[in-house]
């Protein structure tokens, strides 16, 4: 953030951010997981999560945010790509066409019977790529003098 001569006090902004960031992230996860049956999915979920990080960037400075979330966002994007690709490659081992997805109902400890689909793993890839790319763009532009 640009330093001005006038000393500003961001107390209200920063305190509000501390609460709101978690709400936004939880909402983004909600969007992410509900993508199969209702509007939402990896893309909008990823954008919303990076929106939360951008709010942190506005309230604090880049150094603080990097120390809170020490991720290499370029590698995060690459990891997302890799996950998405591997879900496709996985189908090669079952001798079905590339990117064939499967799903099933699994009994989970807390949630009970839950529908799990491998398409979610592909979406997880999309989610990570979107965060990685958005944050790389914002951080790179922010750091350039």
């Amino acid at each position: 953030m640009k330093k001005t001569n006038l000393k500003t006090n961001d107390l209200i902004f920063q305190t509000a951010t501390k609460v709101i960031v978690f709400l936004i992230i939880i909402y983004s996860w909600h969007l992410f997981f509900s993508g199969h049956y209702t509007p939402g999915g990896g893309f909008i979920g990823g954008l919303m999560t990076s929106g939360a990080i951008v709010l942190l960037l506005l309230a604090y400075d880049i150094k603080t945010v990097v120390s809170i979330l020490p991720f290499d966002y370029i590698k995060m994007a690459a990891l997302g790509l890799l996950i998405a690709l591997l879900t496709g490659i996985g189908s090669l081992f079952y001798n079905v066409p590339f990117l064939t997805h499967t799903f099933g109902y699994v009994e989970l400890p807390l949630l009970g019977e839950t529908a799990l689909a491998t398409a979610v793993l592909f979406d997880l890839g999309v989610y990570l790529v979107v965060i990685g790319v958005t944050m790389t763009i914002i951080q790179t532009i922010g750091e350039t003098e």
Binding site: K75, A78, L85, P97, F98, L99, T100
Partner: protein
Amino acid sequence: MNNLIILPIVLPLLTGILLIFLGKNIKWQRWLSAISSFIGIIIACIVVQTVHENGIQTLEIGSWKAPYGIVLVADMYSSLLVLTTSIIGFTTLLFAFSTITREREKFYFYSGVQFLLLGVTGAFLTGDLFNLFVFFEVMLMSSYMLIVLGSTKAQLRESMKYILVNVISSALFVISVAYLYAVTGTLNMADLSVRITELGQSGLITVISIMFLIVFGLKGAIFPLYFWLPGSYNAPPTVITALFGALLTKVGVYSLTRVYTLIFIHDQAFTHQILLWLAALTIIFGVIGSLAYSDIKKIIIYNIITAVGVILFGVAVNNQAAIEGSIYYLVHDMIIKGALFYLVGAIIAVTGTSNLKKFSGLIASHPLLGWMLFIAALSLAGIPPFSGFIGKLKIVQGGFEAGEYTFSLVVLLSSLFVLYSVMKIFINGFWGESAKNFAPKVQTIKGMVFPIAILLILSIGYGVGTQWVSPYITQASETLLDPSIYIQAVLKE
């Protein structure tokens, strides 16, 4: 169901991703990308052989049936192009090892190359119009990155033009696809062909076919739409120009060929006549450009445009001989343009300049380079033992059979001027006394000679061994001449 034909797409994608993780470790990046693209050549060979033995291979991605899901289709035409692409990719990497600067290598150069190869291979293999658009974008995004990587002033200026032109043409692509979808209600190429046959090619569909001509013409640099190419290809380092010159425009040409031999085939008197005129004008303007310049890079760049015209002339004539000729010529041209740009890169590395007037007498210090350029020039012009001959022969033969005498003569004459334009480099640069104010740099070109030699040997082998290649080419032309083979393979009716 055959997962073999996804491999040429998955391999560069996986490599590109892994190369991002390797980041600044240049040694490992080089090894990984070289090994991966060598495996790519082997896979492409297997694909070509499988298609040759078992006919067209299709893969319904995600197990969704043909008109509803995305299909990958490897017929002989596209698998031959995939093979050529992987060879160009491999030699480009070898050439890059000795020419590209450290700074560029550190900033994901090799990932960029792999993603470019991914886009090109995907565009060749896809059987779905929108998927073709997506692969075009993959290819173009990587080319944006490669053209600007290094951020010299010229690169920044030219990448602005290049991106602007391609964003506009991509928007036109989407609009054309939208119109076509509105008329036919499908995006699968085989299904499109069937539906247009059922509907009959109305005026509306002819208009859409001309829109596709404009879109792919912008990508493939045909006559009134080639204006962006000479500047943009001149800016980046020679390796990247080689990659662009050998692959990018050819994807436009491929798409145009595919669309005009599979989908829009019912009003040929109108569409193919336009294509014929544009092809002839492309040849003429390409030749004028290559004669006008004394900058060696520019000369070869204008030769790309000429070659695009020659290939499209074969497509426009659209009989057996001409189509076969254009396939021969397309494969030949990818190989020889790669070789020529590497040669230009090597010459620039030796002399430090691309201006033909500033150096001469190179043959005394670099005989190998000189004779390689000589062979490449003969091959480009189409002198019999080399690879350019058979393609042009068949194209001209097809042109005469179709009664297009004037245009065929244009193709023949263009060979003469193409030969002159490259021989100009040989005669002015390599013969004569060494220019006074010029001392050849002692810089070693050992690493650069190897990839050039590979491509030249291939080019000679392609010309000498035409009888071994011809069954493959004939098989490729059969699909292009008779779309029902393609449609049956995809829709399995």
